[in-house]
């Protein structure tokens, strides 16, 4: 089995989960409602935990310890999509990003639960169940606020327009698409994108929001190859600040 292809796949998934998990944790203490504060904090805990389990799989393939991988790299060594690293903005943007990202990931893990790479298949099956609560949460709020007041609808619509080119960057093709498919490891970004688009269209159609025409959008690619916006490095500096004071400290 192509180890380099598996590593590339694991890194992008782990980095996506870690970076969005960190962004979600920035809502702790600032949520617009107590329940939302707890929801984003809980999703942060899930995502950071899921990323750790993915880094552990990488460690078993010879990569460094999960903490070292998470805290000691610079932005050009991260493979997350740019969507994950964008600042939280206001609640409407965080909610739209959560909706677009978590549906993509719920489907990605569903696909991976049949992967021929067994350790990833087992973990994905487990994570898939947890993500149902994330997509349920996103769904509830998108449906409510997407059909509520003029302000809630226009705020979500603006955020949707802004986030969509970045969301398409989730599906940036891997250099190993052919190997991943032929070896039965993963059915590929294009297949994932199609399923995702069908799912989010189904939800958006139950609201007064309009899905932007994706054929006219320029996807924000490059994240998978280490090209990031100016927002990622400050996030990493803050996230790793304590760890880097003494990487050998016991907690």
């Amino acid at each position: 089995m192509s180890e380099i292809a598996i590593k590339e796949l694991l890194y992008k998934i782990a980095d996506d989960q870690l970076i969005l998990g960190h962004r979600n944790s920035e809502w702790t203490g600032f949520g617009p409602l107590l329940e939302e504060d707890i929801a984003f904090s809980s999703m942060a805990q899930d995502k950071v935990g899921q990323s750790q389990a993915m880094y552990q799989l990488l460690h078993e393939l010879g990569e460094a310890e999960p903490d070292t991988v998470a805290f000691m790299r610079n932005s050009d060594q991260f493979h997350n999509c740019q969507l994950a690293e964008l600042p939280n903005g206001e609640y409407d943007f965080s909610l739209i990003r959560h909706f677009l990202f978590d549906f993509a990931y719920a489907i990605r893990f569903e696909m991976l639960s049949n992967s021929s790479y067994v350790p990833l298949a087992k973990l994905s099956k487990k994570i898939q169940g947890e993500l149902r609560y994330h997509t349920m949460h996103a769904n509830t709020w998108i449906k409510q606020l997407g059909s509520a007041t003029e302000e809630s609808i226009s705020r979500l619509q603006n955020s949707l327009n802004e986030a969509m080119p970045y969301a398409l960057g989730i599906f940036e093709p891997s250099p190993y698409e052919a190997e991943l498919k032929s070896e039965g490891i993963f059915d590929g970004e294009e297949a994932l994108k199609e399923k995702w688009l069908a799912k989010i269209t189904e939800v958006i159609n139950q609201t007064q929001l309009q899905l932007p025409d994706i054929t006219t959008l320029e996807p924000k690619m490059g994240g998978r190859a280490g090209q990031h916006t100016e927002h990622l490095q400050p996030l990493l500096d803050e996230m790793a600040e304590v760890f880097r004071i003494d990487p050998t400290a016991d907690w």
């Binding site: 329940e35 707890i38 929801a39 904090s41 809980s42 999703m43 805990q45 899930d46 995502k47 950071v48 935990g49 899921q50 750790q52 389990a53 087992k122 973990l123 099956k125 487990k126 994570i127 169940g129 947890e130 149902r132 609560y133 349920m136 949460h137």
Partner: protein, 159 residues
């Protein structure tokens, strides 16, 4: 030489640190016990992948077995046999209810949103409740409101 039943009985003493009435055995997170003359190997799996309590539980398993004179204890955490909420035993379900936490409804491994409403209230026993939020004080609990006794309660989430 110890029997598996004996080890399981001792492990009844190890409780979920966040739900101190529920043992790891009743929680269903002990997935395998392997015994040979000098060594006991316990395999565990977390309820949620990011469960912060797993390291404490692992340490507690080692300490309890050490206290019964088993010096060589090896605890592995993996996803070979992933946890789901159906694995909570009937005794565990009763313990949860007595603790004031609604036990997770049994399901066919595909959690339908419908099973999250009208959960039986652990305070008054009626099935007339709504889920307020799927995210509670820990990753494994959701928050519900009982329309009958007007109490807010938590549920151990079905997963």
């Amino acid at each position: 030489m110890y029997s598996e039943a004996q080890i399981l009985e001792w492990l009844e003493e190890v409780k979920d640190p966040e739900i101190p009435v529920l043992s790891l055995v009743d929680l269903g997170v002990i997935t395998n016990i392997d015994i040979n003359e000098h060594r006991v190997a316990v395999t565990m799996t977390p309820t949620f992948v990011g469960c912060p309590a797993i390291d404490y539980m692992k340490q507690d398993v080692i300490e309890v077995l050490n206290s019964y004179g088993i010096d060589n204890v090896d605890v592995q955490v993996n996803f070979d046999e992933p946890w789901n909420s159906n694995k909570i035993t009937d005794k565990g379900r009763k313990a949860l209810k007595d603790f004031g936490l609604a036990p997770p409804p049994k399901h066919n491994l595909i959690v339908d949103i419908d099973i999250l409403d009208n959960i039986e209230c652990p305070n008054c026993g009626r099935n007339n409740s709504v889920m307020k939020t799927p995210f509670g004080p820990t990753a494994c609990r959701s928050i519900h409101f009982c329309n009958n006794c007007k109490e807010t309660f938590e549920q151990f989430k079905p997963l």
